[in-house]
């Protein structure tokens, strides 16, 4: 299969994520690390700071984090903290974290205490989407803006914020365009390649990411010797920030054609609406439209018990659309070990896919490369079930 220049560049960034931001730092730019997808990137970009997603490393044994977090919590967050404690995120000028989940909150607190970056902000993101929560979220974003402004020593102009929203929306549109290339059978781009692009986007400034996406899209569209036809899978789950799992699934004889994970469509598909007060659009998108199980949703407020399938429909119907539009024939339901947030959602998601008649299987990840091998049998068995 021909590898385009864009994909090669994405792979290079994937393999050495901090390289570009370190170059930018040498030119005097400041880099803000963020954990999970809830800190508002537009504000960081608008103040000429570079947002940089904090990710873990499944290939690096966790040795330092266990002194300050219990071992029976999210191994991804433990890995991020471990890398921080080992000095691998020392190049960050600041860190923005949010109450994504309980472990995320505690890790943020520990990060603040142990690593004490020049800038630190914690957004107390609400966990429901009720009106009162939305209102509160907007207030919290005002605080985030204020601390960023005082860190850089300048005010954020509404015009600059609007431009940043447009740049990030542009990136979202380009990601959706890239995902269109996964719709043909066989897809024009593999799940592994897509993930490398997604990780790359989270490691470079938004404008550079957009350039990378344009290059990848135009080159992948020209591909003649693409992938082979194989059973088409959708992966639902928590964070997948290393290609090892997707490679394992694809080498077992499938094409991963769609995802609902936070280094994928979940992070990029929803746009920010341009509202008179830009904060309204931002607050709505980052609370209501990001569909991570960390936010509690129910079909009709207070009516969950009346009609289970209706409740599932209202929470997960977008997954039905994904499965139809990308023609997924089977589903991998993935969660990180000890992730209460996703674990809580797994029975409902499985019930929903069973209701749709889509074969599915559950994979629990330990967030170590070594523990992946036994999962191969489950993936192969799913493919056999699909026939």
């Amino acid at each position: 299969m021909s590898e385009s220049k864009g994909l090669t560049r994405a792979k290079e960034i994937y393999q050495d994520r901090p390289r570009r931001v370190k170059e930018l730092k040498a030119e005097g730019r400041k880099v803000i690390g963020y954990l999970c997808i809830y800190p508002v990137l537009e504000m960081i970009t608008a103040l000429d700071l570079v947002p940089y997603r904090i990710l873990g490393d499944i290939r690096e044994p966790i040795t330092k984090a266990d002194a300050c977090l219990p071992t029976v919590v999210c191994p991804f967050v433990r890995s991020c903290l471990d890398l921080g404690l080992k000095g691998k995120y020392d190049f960050l000028d600041g860190v923005a974290m949010a109450h994504v989940c309980d472990v995320g909150e505690k890790a943020a607190h520990i990060w603040h205490i142990y690593l004490n970056p020049p800038y630190f902000h914690f957004i107390d993101t609400p966990h429901t989407i009720h009106k009162a929560a939305q209102k509160q979220h907007k207030e919290l974003l005002k605080d985030f803006q204020r601390t960023l402004e005082s860190f850089v020593g300048k005010k954020l102009s509404p015009g600059r914020l609007k431009e940043a929203i447009e740049a990030h929306n542009q990136q979202r549109a380009l990601v959706r365009e890239l995902y269109e290339l996964r719709k043909p059978d066989p897809p024009l781009i593999s799940g592994t390649e897509t993930l490398q692009v997604m990780v790359a986007l989270m490691s470079i400034p938004v404008e550079e990411g957009n350039e990378l996406l344009r290059q990848v899209i135009s080159e992948v569209k020209q591909r003649k010797d693409g992938l082979q036809k194989k059973p088409r899978l959708l992966v639902w789950g928590s964070i997948i920030d290393d290609i090892a799992l997707i490679e394992l699934i694809e080498s077992a004889g499938a094409n991963v054609v769609m995802d609902d994970t936070c280094v994928g469509s979940r992070a990029y598909f929803p746009d920010v609406k341009l509202t008179d007060d830009p904060l309204d659009g931002l607050a709505y998108r980052y609370l209501v439209e990001l569909k991570c199980p960390r936010t509690f949703r129910e079909g009709v407020f207070g009516e969950t018990k009346k009609d289970y399938i209706k409740d599932l429909e209202s929470r997960f119907s977008y997954l039905k659309d994904y499965a139809r539009e990308w023609n997924a024939e089977g589903i991998i339901v993935q969660a990180m070990r000890y992730c209460d947030t996703h674990g809580y959602e797994v029975p409902g998601v499985k019930d929903y896919f069973n209701h749709l008649g889509l074969p599915n299987t559950y994979l629990e990840l330990d967030y170590t490369e070594a523990a992946l091998a036994p999962l191969r049998t489950r993936v192969q068995a799913l493919l056999e079930v699909m026939g």
Binding site: P347, P359, T361, A371, P374, T377, R378, A381, E384, V385
Partner: protein, 272 residues
């Protein structure tokens, strides 16, 4: 354990061999294959198709195809019990729940990460008590009030058993408690498949009547056990092999076969 089943065109079993696997997967695959051919009075070339399954399925160099044990077990169980809806398999390596509809696997759950809840759990504790696995069922049948043993960890359960013994609890009651621990742990996992009768129990642990009865109690329904619970996976693999051959013949396609040669062992080489 490594098993071989050879079937004829009418699904009749020509030979069945069970041997311990040990460390040298490939050498054993050759050895049991030779034995099976001898038993069936066949030359290797006369075998039309060969499916390998299970943990060692990549270590059978002469297999024409690899199929997971989940699919093979489902097929094998359904051939013996056509009305099966849920199969529970507890072996030395893992525990599995299979949902079967019209003889085909439709869903599954699996524990292969922890020894607790597998045959290994009983092996470790039987060893600590100086008993043989085959004795456990008989001893537990004499129990009058089984004790509660926690099923979360094999090593801790072993300590628990020893402290119960030192308290003077009867051996039969302890072993009945162990059987209940493994059964209830498995049932909790398999419930995710929404259990429906008929339920069939296979794998080495199904030879232990104590666990069979504990499963019946936990599930509150009948649990069927095949005459040879170790062989259902191999039977399923043989039936799938026959199906693949017949499909190819019907379509007039060539049958993709590996060379029928029993090569010398290549130690731990997983790439074939």
């Amino acid at each position: 354990m490594t098993k071989v089943v050879i079937i004829d065109a009418d699904d009749g079993i020509c030979s069945r061999v069970i041997g311990p696997t040990g460390a040298e997967h490939r050498r054993l695959a050759n050895k049991v294959m030779e034995e099976a051919l001898e038993q069936a009075n066949l030359s290797f070339d006369q075998v039309s198709y060969l499916v390998a399954t299970g943990y060692g399925r990549m270590n059978v160099p002469f297999a024409d195809r690899q199929v997971t044990e989940l699919t093979c077990h489902a097929r094998g169980v359904a051939s013996i019990f056509p009305s099966v809806r849920v199969a529970i398999d507890i072996g030395g390596q893992d525990a599995k729940g299979l949902k079967i509809r019209d003889g085909r696997l439709v869903d599954f759950v699996m524990n292969d990460k922890c020894a607790a809840g597998t045959g290994r759990f009983l092996e470790v504790i039987a060893d600590a008590l100086g008993l043989r696995m085959e004795e456990l069922g008989g001893i537990s049948s004499k129990s009058t009030s089984k004790v509660e043993i926690s099923s979360t960890c094999t090593i801790f359960a072993q300590q628990e058993v020893i402290s119960r013994l030192s308290e003077g609890v009867a051996l039969a009651d302890i072993i009945a408690g162990l059987h209940d621990a493994i059964a209830s742990r498995t049932v909790r996992m398999v419930r995710r498949l929404k259990i429906e009768p008929d339920v069939v129990f296979t794998g080495g642990v199904a030879k232990n009547m104590g666990v069979v009865n504990a499963l019946r109690e936990n599930l509150e329904c009948e649990v069927f056990v095949p005459e040879e619970p170790l062989l259902t996976g191999a039977i399923g693999a043989a039936l799938l092999g026959k199906e693949l051959t017949l499909q190819a013949l019907a379509k007039g396609e060539p049958i993709q076969r590996k060379e029928r040669r029993l090569e010398e062992a290549t130690f731990f080489n997983t790439r074939s």
